[in-house]
Symmetry: C2
Subunit: 351 residues, 2 copies
């Protein structure tokens, strides 16, 4: 009726003490082998390794953390531009900070103008030399890259969050695959729109932002190849600004009678929603956007938006903290757990 029940649970777990006794060495030497510190005779190391294998020893993580007792300090740099998604991210970083405290690690969050590479680079250079790790919403620019690499050269663990600098020496990027997100948007758009064709528009903040350019690229790729019946307009740049987006879309709607779809790559969804509703086109224009903010949720529920592509800010904040911590402690990372999903939300699977 039941099978495969392991008996491990009923055995007492081996400690480092047990390993040391089994190998005939002291605790200190056993510890050296377990943590791969050098200065151990090869023969001794082999004896210890054998004991570890024989007893199936795995370290007690709580004891190790306590004994080490080194507090960790992380700096998180977020954009000072207050868009809804970044606000959510800041809230989640704060929540993560409270959890981290129990792990004897601390987060200092600060805000910098994202669109200004020099300011971001200066902020990175100006970081007090107390940090074990830094997480930043990056801007792909040579100055930023240099500042990241300088930190890494000083053995600070650096991760990029939401927006990457792939050529830098950051140890990890925590965010979605942006070209894939663009392709996903295109697939949804192409299938949601009427078969007879029409015109589609794409709105970005500026093509100078790597993630926006990448999403646009992925979108174009799929739409042009798989939905040739759709005509794609030159990209519109709204600077993530709702007011500007509203103006752009109002003009777009009056200039393009056969408009069937809008893909908003960046922020400022309120402006687009307003323009669509004012023109009475909210129900017949397919609109795909990013980030499940309160506004986006409302738009999904009332049918103005058709799909929202999301990255979970809570997951990203926790992931950044776990990854920084793991790098500091030399602990393993669960790749599976840290992979940031390209989430698709319709009205029906809203959390």
């Amino acid at each position: 009726m039941t099978r495969g029940q392991h008996q491990t649970a009923l055995r007492q777990r081996a400690t480092l003490e047990d390993v040391a006794r089994e190998a005939g060495v002291s605790l200190a030497t056993a510890d050296r082998v377990v943590n791969r510190r050098d200065g151990v005779h090869a023969k001794t190391a082999a004896r210890v390794a054998h004991a570890i294998a024989k007893l199936g020893y795995t370290a007690n993580a709580a004891a190790a953390r306590l004994a080490r007792n080194r507090p960790r300090r992380f700096a998180f740099l977020l954009p000072s531009t207050p868009n809804a998604f970044m606000t959510q991210l800041a809230v989640q970083v704060a929540a993560t900070a409270r959890w981290l405290e129990g792990q004897n690690a601390f987060i200092d969050m600060s805000h910098v103008d994202v669109f200004d590479a020099e300011a971001l680079a200066a902020a990175l250079r100006g970081l007090q030399p107390v940090y074990d790790g830094v997480a930043l919403v990056a801007l792909d620019h040579p100055s930023v890259r240099a500042a990241i690499d300088d930190l890494v050269a000083r053995s600070v663990h650096v991760v990029t969050l939401v927006s990457d600098v792939p050529t830098s020496r950051r140890v990890h990027y925590i965010g979605i695959d942006n070209p894939a997100a663009g392709r996903t948007a295109a697939s949804l758009m192409g299938r949601f729109v009427p078969r007879r064709g029409g015109t589609v528009a794409v709105v970005v903040a500026t093509m100078a932002l790597r993630d926006h350019a990448e999403r646009h690229f992925g979108f174009m790729q799929v739409l042009s190849q798989e939905f040739p019946e759709l005509r794609i307009l030159p990209v519109l740049e709204g600077r993530d600004d709702a007011t500007r987006n509203r103006t752009l879309v109002r003009r777009l709607l009056s200039d393009t009678p056969d408009l069937v779809g809008i893909y908003n790559v960046g922020a400022g969804n309120e402006g687009i929603a307003a323009a669509l509703e004012t023109a009475g086109r909210a129900r017949d224009v397919v609109w795909v956007a990013h980030e499940l903010t309160p506004d986006a949720r409302r738009c999904l529920l009332n049918g103005v938006a058709d799909a929202i592509i999301n990255q979970d800010p809570g997951h990203e904040a926790r992931s950044a903290a776990r990854i920084l911590l793991a790098h500091c402690e030399g602990a393993p990372i669960l790749a599976d757990q840290e992979r940031i999903r390209i989430e698709i939300f319709l009205r029906d699977n809203l959390p």
Copy 2:
């Protein structure tokens, strides 16, 4: 340029010792207050509480775990029917077990016939009284419910995994909202299928499974209300069996010339794929299914499947372990982190 940089990171963190000194009590008493154990004079407790607030004390989780030093044992009961999703889940439970060991907690995994309520109930009753917690892929049946409630009465923490028994006293359900998953499938189906209408079929294992019945219900609800141009056939029961599904779909395809969509609620996707391909209908019939197994992934990539609705087995395994551990230790749960998403995968956002 930067602002809002907290100074917490530069302060030394307060220990229980500090709290005790500040309140003028012993460590033991401070501990009693922190952990809400009783037998402390109200005035003393107030003094300690004041010290905690003043110093901003939060417990060092590692030290607490170590001092407590109580190993935890969990039993995980999975279906013995070896479908691809359940195999993935078993792999993830095993991976989680390795992580848990470092937390001084251990998982015993065993397998029971899911479709047999009495066998499942007997397995629950037959569990050795060594377990602090139990996670099971449940079957919503009075015998199972009674067996769960008996465990809870013996103060065992019980969680349901993937499939729930909502009326039982289990402390948590780790899985997706199944009616919402069905509604999501319907929205995708309705929008992917040609506007002119046609016939849609739904395949389940059996309507006696709560999750299948719920998904079917959600699907019907949205499809009938929002896509009245689509005709829905009576549900087909394939017992999660690929061979049976293949036969059902072969017959379906020949009997229903205007078939435009299939929603497979359960397992056995290979059978459906085979029938669609053999009939040369793979590209024009919209097919929505569940669980991103290797087969499902292949079907998405080659265009046989149009969307896969997924629950992440790795997330579920880790979540079950974290939730059981938290309940054992009286620790808080991060609801946000434990929420199991209804994931939508298209070819483009495959991980």
